[in-house]
Symmetry: C2
Subunit: 330 residues, 2 copies
């Protein structure tokens, strides 16, 4: 194993301890695995809570802070958090204005967030949920009924988070989150497999010189394998897969995302090709974000997420955000 | 090759095109390979220019913007930029207040920046230089006479950049930059080798189950090879190597840096161990930054950089910065 870890059993707790040390602006409950923005609950503000398996960092804990998530619940690596975490997070951040759960569409996450919503409701917290299911590669997958939730999670959390920061009510924040999810589509590509600490060897077998088109963020199979392609060819394939499903009738925000082990130099080069395809297809790009945001541990590869936007969504995208992984504005 | 590229020959140009598309707040001259903050030259402000081989992204172009670099000159992968780039950058950003060249200590970079300083001087640009040489692993190395320049570059560019933004004169900005370099030490560890696009195979041979202690950011040999160590053991070794050389008599800023292919989850876990060692050694940590900032393409591994600081250096560290890779404050 070429991992920078102590033992597999403590990887998530160790990561949270290190996050606490680096980010005094967050309250990190290592034992209960809840990361909360320090000033929560914020009076009159709807709270956003998300979570999911660890191994996708900075998603979700790296998106906690003003303008985005109120709290995040990290599970074990590639494993849903448990309802107790979500209920605890909701209680910590609810100001009385209600809580939106942002849930990626994986069976475990959906069940656990559903149970947490019921429990929180019993405790008097008003909860709404949004399901993120943007990955066009496959319908149904290893851990999913329906499409998988991937890069659009960032768009949902940023844009709904901005609306919440502006004191929009829960039904408006939830409606915006659903609008963003419905306007977003993703497609991912693996150049290598991924190795989890618990397994210690690649979770799937990808021979050198081949790539997996449509891979999931846990290494789930995609649409097909092909011999190695150029950045240009990959961009053509991924962007066309997204556009075929999304068919945008207006400008888009583009996320050109690294899976974790692809150099930033290569990601920027890939972005040049993504922009070229979009231009050739007549799609106007309003904003672009390039970097490692929704990752899969040590997987090399990339994904493209497009979100069709109107002026209001662009305004909310541009609104200030202050989190460990995403920060701009004042 | 498991790379997201077209052909090795266009990797740097492709990356710059993609950076231009993602960052309209920068002026990217792809042909001449110069990245400049859009509002340069800023009247009355000393300009900071840096550069070096590509493959260490976000260093340096990702640090261009208000509060940090005025311009960056990316060379070919792991190859110094040429004097023409630096002279062009200096001319683009000089307001008349002078230019500071931030130079990592590698033979090619030193020679080329020296030549550029002479040429710029002939064109009437007042130039000062600071040499960054913080890596305690080895004295002299593959491409270096004396210590290599690595993570401290970020500290020098951030802190001197903040002073320049506050309109400090050139001699003050240069003195601060030298102070930061002298107060900083680094130590890096490789868990895998690195593969450059041009070579297409690992630049050095590191068998699975071994690590290279003291590796350079181009894969240069370090102090020794050992069988795989835990995060705790690596932190002990790296931090002690830094402290032995630095012997800080006050608080430090810590950079816990990823080499590019190590998951952020692992880096945060490593940070927990770094903080533990520092605490055990009685070193107070004023600020901590965790992430992939001074990378080595697809190398897995990490480095620790410590900078001994006083109140003024912490104030300049905290000052606003708005670059692609580092942003905080207003």
């Amino acid at each position: 194993m070429r991992m920078l870890i102590n033992v597999p059993e403590t990887v998530v707790a160790d990561g949270l301890r290190g996050m606490a040390a680096a980010h005094p602006e967050l309250t990190v409950d290592v034992e209960n695995r809840v990361v909360v923005r320090r000033d929560a609950p914020v009076a009159g503000k709807v709270a956003l809570v998300s979570g999911g398996g660890s191994g996708h960092e900075p998603l979700h804990a790296g998106f906690v802070g003003p303008g985005m998530l109120s709290a995040a619940c990290p599970g074990e690596v590639f494993t849903s958090p448990v309802p107790d975490q979500m209920v605890r997070a909701a209680a910590a951040v609810d100001s009385g204005a209600g809580v939106l759960f942002v849930v990626k569409n994986y069976t475990g996450d959906v069940l656990n967030f559903e149970m947490a919503a019921e429990l929180a409701d019993e405790e008097g917290v008003q909860v709404a949920q949004v399901l993120v299911n943007d990955d066009v590669a496959v319908t149904d997958s290893l851990f999913t009924a329906g499409r998988r939730g991937t890069g659009a999670t960032l768009f949902v959390e940023k844009i709904a988070g901005a609306a919440a920061e502006e004191s929009a009510p829960l039904d408006r924040v939830a409606a915006l989150a659903r609008q963003v999810n419905e306007a977003s589509r993703s497609f991912g590509v693996a150049l290598t497999s991924v190795t989890t600490p618990a397994k210690g060897s690649p979770t799937f077998d990808l021979p050198p010189g081949e790539l997996e088109l449509g891979v999931g963020i846990h290494g789930e199979p995609g649409r097909e394998r092909r011999p190695m392609m150029t950045s240009r060819e990959i961009a053509d394939f991924a962007v066309d897969a997204v556009l075929e499903d999304l068919r945008p009738r207006g400008p888009v925000i583009a996320l050109v995302n690294g899976m974790g082990a692809t150099p930033l130099l290569e990601l920027y080069g890939f972005n040049a090709e993504v922009q070229r395809v979009l231009s050739e297809r007549g799609v106007v790009v309003a904003r672009t974000l390039v970097g490692n945001y929704v990752t899969s541990l040590d997987m090399a590869g990339c994904s493209v997420t497009l979100c069709q936007v109107d002026e209001e969504l662009v305004r909310l995208w541009d609104a200030p955000v202050q989190t460990p992984a995403l920060r701009w504005g004042r």
